[in-house]
C-alpha cells in the first residue's frame, strides 16, 4: 500500500533548491551540468526526478550531499540549498559531514561500490549508528540488528556477520537502506536504487521504500530514468533535461496532461507492456553534450515545435496550475 499522495508542496518544505547550478571544468572551460534548478520536497513526500543520462539529476543529488568533487567541479555562485531552513551552500566540510547521514542520506544504484567489501554488514551498520548517534558498541549492534529487520532482511540475526559479497543485489540494497536509516534522516536521496535489479526484486525494494516512508516519516528524492517506476512511487515529479527542470507537477498531472514537449515525447517513445503500442514515436537526435548546450531551451534542437525564439532565449518557468510548472515558450499551444 502507498501513503496518500499529496500533490501540494507544504509551506515548510524539508528541502528547497533555488537557482541551483553545478559546473564542471573541461579543458579550462566551465560548463553547467545543472542549471538554475528550483525544487522543493515536502515532508514525507516522494519527489521523482526523471531524466536521461546527462540530464543533471544525479549531480543535483550530489550537490545536496555536498559531494561535488572539488577542483574540477563547483556549485555555481548564487545557488541555494536549504535543508529544513538551513542554508548548505558555503558550509564548512565538518558541518556538512555532520549533516550527511544525520538529516540527509543517500543510496546509489550499485550498493557494492558504497559498501566496504571486507567488513561484516552488521558492523558497517553499527559503525554508522555509533558515529551519528553516539551509542556504545553493544547498543549499536542491537540497533543494527533492528535496522536489518526493519528493511525486511530475511534471517537478519544470522546475516549480521556476513560480508557484502554474500548478499544478492536486492539484499545489498536493503543493507544500504539500513545504513541510510541508521542516522534517522529526514530526507533520503535515492539515485537509481533499483535500476540494476530484476523487476521482481525492484518491486520488493520499491515496496520497502514506500512502507518505510510511512513508518519513519521520510521524504524521498527518487532519481530514475524509468517513467514506469515514477508512476509507481512518486507523489510529485520533476522532469529534467540538459541540466534544467523542464516540468514539475503532481504525478497524475505529469502523466495525464504533460505540458512540456520533452515530457510528451518521452511518454510517446516508451514501449508499454500494458497495451499494443503501434504508435511508438522515437525522439529524433540525442541528448546534447555538456560542452554544446544550446543557449535557449535545451530541448529545442530535438523539439518538433521549436521556433526561432526557442533556440535564442531560455524559456521562463510558467505555471499551468498552482503546482504544475513548465519551462517552454510554446506549452499552451499544443496541450
Amino acid at each position: 500500500m502507498h501513503s496518500i499522495r499529496r500533490p501540494s508542496v507544504s509551506d515548510d518544505p524539508i528541502l528547497r533548491l533555488r537557482d541551483l547550478g553545478v559546473e564542471f571544468r573541461i579543458d579550462d572551460q566551465w560548463h553547467g551540468a545543472v542549471r538554475g534548478v528550483d525544487l522543493e520536497i515536502g515532508r514525507s513526500e516522494t519527489l521523482a526526478v526523471v531524466g536521461e543520462s546527462g540530464s543533471g539529476k544525479s549531480m543535483t543529488a550530489l550537490a545536496i550531499m555536498g559531494l561535488i568533487p572539488a577542483g574540477n567541479g563547483r556549485i555555481t555562485a548564487g545557488s541555494s540549498i536549504r535543508l529544513e531552513g538551513q542554508e548548505l551552500v558555503g558550509l564548512a566540510e565538518v558541518e556538512l559531514d555532520r549533516l550527511r547521514g544525520n538529516r540527509v542520506a543517500m543510496i546509489f544504484q550499485e550498493p557494492m561500490t558504497a559498501l566496504n567489501p571486507s567488513m561484516r554488514v552488521g558492523e558497517q551498520i553499527a559503525e554508522s549508528v555509533r558515529k551519528h548517534r553516539g551509542l556504545d558498541r553493544s547498543a549499536a549492534r542491537a540497533e543494527a540488528r533492528r535496522l536489518l529487520d526493519q528493511v525486511r532482511m530475511p534471517s537478519a540475526a544470522q546475516r549480521m556477520d556476513d560480508f557484502p559479497h554474500q548478499f544478492s543485489g536486492g539484499m545489498r540494497q536493503r543493507v544500504m537502506i539500513a545504513i541510510a536509516l541508521a542516522c534517522q534522516p529526514r530526507l533520503l536521496l535515492a539515485d537509481e536504487p533499483t535500476t540494476a535489479l530484476d523487476v521482481t526484486i525492484q518491486a520488493q525494494v520499491l515496496r520497502l521504500l514506500s512502507d518505510l516512508k510511512r513508518e519513519v516519516d521520510l521524504a524521498v528524492m527518487f532519481i530514475t530514468h524509468n517513467l514506469g517506476v515514477v508512476a509507481l512511487i512518486a507523489d510529485r515529479v520533476a522532469v529534467m533535461y540538459a541540466g534544467q527542470v523542464v516540468e514539475t507537477g503532481a504525478v497524475e498531472a505529469i502523466f495525464s496532461q504533460p505540458a512540456h514537449p520533452y515530457t510528451q515525447a518521452l511518454l510517446r517513445s516508451m514501449p508499454r507492456v500494458d497495451r499494443d503500442s503501434s504508435d511508438l514515436e522515437p525522439i529524433a537526435g540525442q541528448v546534447p553534450s555538456i560542452r554544446e548546450l544550446p543557449t535557449g531551451c535545451g530541448f529545442a534542437p530535438r523539439c518538433p515545435l521549436a521556433v526561432a525564439r526557442c533556440t535564442a532565449q531560455l524559456p521562463q518557468v510558467e505555471f499551468r496550475s498552482p503546482h504544475h510548472s513548465v519551462r517552454c515558450w510554446r506549452h499552451g499551444e499544443h496541450a
Binding site: M1, H2, E52, S53, P154, S168, G170, M171, D198, V199, T200, I201, Q202, A203, Q204, L206, R207, S210, H225, N226, L227, G228, V229, V230, A231, L232, A234, V251, E252, F255, S256, A265, L266, L267, S269, M270, P271, R272, V273, D274, D276, S277, L280, E281, P282, I283, A284, Q286, V287, R302
Partner: protein
C-alpha cells in the same frame, strides 16, 4: 525457420584437484520455434538462461545436448562450409555496442570484416556494400572512416546492427539490444529493427528483460525461469492474461507509465534460487502462491491451453 528442441547447457562451477565441480544448469531442456519472418521474444530475469540460450543457438557456446534446426537442417551437426553458410544465415546483435566493436578499427573495417571472412565481396564491392549497410541503418557515409569512440551509444548500436545485416542473414538474434541505451534513443533502435525486419523479411529472436520492448517488437513470447520455459504464446494474450504464476508476478512487477493503474506493488516472496541447486519439481514452487504438494516433486510438462498458448504448470494440466 529456427527450431530448438530440448536444448541443454550446464557449466562447471568451482571444484578443485580432488573435488568435482558443481554443475550449473543454465539451460535445462528448452524447446522453441521461430517461424519465417516472425519475431519471438525471450523474456526472464537474470540467471534464467535466456542469454546462454541465445549464445547456444548461435553456437557461440556449444550446447551439451538437444537439437537446433535452421530451415530444417541440423545446425549442431554441421561442419566446414555448411557451417559457415549457416552462420551467415544467423547473425547476432549484442547489448553493449561498445564492448562488441573493436576500438582500433574504423567502422568501415569492422563492417567489411564479415564480408572478407566469408569471401563474399571483391575489394571493389566492399566499399559499396559497407556504404549501403550504413545507409540502411541511418548512418552517414563518412562513418566509414571513423572509430567507435566517436559515436554515441545509439549510433554504435546502429553499427552493430549494420554488421549483423551485412551478410544478409535470414535470422537475427538480438540480445538486449536497447538495454544500455537512453529511453529516447531506445525507440529509435526499436523502430529501426522493426523496419528492417519488414523490409528484409527477417526472422527475429529478441532477448530482453523488458516486457514492454518485447510486446512492442514481437509476435510471440517465451517466458523463462531458471533454465526452463514456463509459458509461451502470442505477446498480447500472454501479457494481458498471464497464466503461469511466475508470468503473473513478472507482469505485475513490470512498471507501467500510468499512475492511475498504480497497483499494489506485488508482494513477491524470496529471490531467484541459484541455478547451481535448482529446486526440485517446478523451479518456481518455493515462491509460488499457488504451489501444491506435487509441485515440489514433479516437473510440470508444458500443456496446450488454446489460443496457441502453452504453459508448464499443474494448475492447467488435467
Amino acid at each position: 525457420m529456427l527450431e530448438v528442441d530440448d536444448l541443454r547447457k550446464t557449466f562447471p562451477v568451482g571444484g578443485g584437484l580432488f573435488r568435482r565441480p558443481a554443475r550449473l544448469h543454465a539451460v535445462a531442456g528448452v524447446s522453441l520455434s521461430l517461424d519465417h519472418q516472425r519475431s519471438l521474444g525471450l523474456v526472464g530475469e537474470s540467471g534464467c538462461g535466456k542469454s546462454t540460450l541465445a549464445r547456444c543457438i548461435m553456437r557461440l557456446i556449444e550446447p551439451d545436448s538437444g537439437q537446433i534446426r535452421i530451415t530444417g537442417r541440423d545446425f549442431l551437426k554441421m561442419r566446414g562450409s555448411a557451417l559457415s553458410e549457416a552462420r551467415r544465415e544467423l547473425q547476432i546483435v549484442f547489448q553493449d555496442p561498445y564492448g562488441s566493436l573493436n576500438p582500433r578499427r574504423t567502422i568501415g573495417q569492422t563492417l567489411a570484416e564479415p564480408l572478407r571472412v566469408h569471401g563474399l565481396a571483391t575489394d571493389a564491392e566492399l566499399a559499396q556494400r559497407v556504404e549501403a549497410a550504413l545507409a540502411e541503418v541511418g548512418l552517414p557515409t563518412d562513418a566509414m572512416q571513423r572509430y567507435p569512440h566517436e559515436f554515441s551509444g545509439g549510433q554504435r548500436q546502429r553499427v552493430g546492427i549494420a554488421r549483423a545485416l551485412i551478410l544478409n542473414p535470414g535470422i537475427l538474434v538480438a540480445d538486449e539490444p536497447v538495454s544500455a541505451l537512453d529511453v529516447s534513443v531506445q525507440a529509435q533502435i526499436l523502430k529501426l529493427l522493426e523496419g528492417l525486419r519488414e523490409r528484409r523479411g527477417l526472422s527475429l529472436l529478441l532477448v530482453s528483460h523488458d516486457l514492454g520492448v518485447v510486446r512492442h517488437v514481437c509476435d510471440r513470447v517465451v517466458v523463462m525461469y531458471l533454465g526452463r520455459v514456463v509459458e509461451e504464446g502470442p505477446v498480447a494474450s500472454i501479457f494481458d492474461d498471464p497464466m503461469h504464476p511466475y508470468t503473473r508476478v513478472l507482469r505485475a512487477a513490470s512498471p507501467v507509465p500510468d499512475p492511475t493503474a498504480r497497483f499494489r506493488l506485488p508482494n513477491i516472496e524470496g529471490e531467484i534460487p541459484s541455478a547451481l541447486n535448482p529446486p526440485p519439481g517446478c523451479a518456481f514452487h518455493p515462491r509460488c502462491p499457488s504451489a501444491m504438494p506435487k509441485c515440489s516433486i514433479e516437473q510440470p510438462p508444458p500443456v496446450s491451453v488454446g489460443g496457441a498458448r502453452r504453459v508448464a504448470c499443474f494448475l492447467y494440466s488435467k
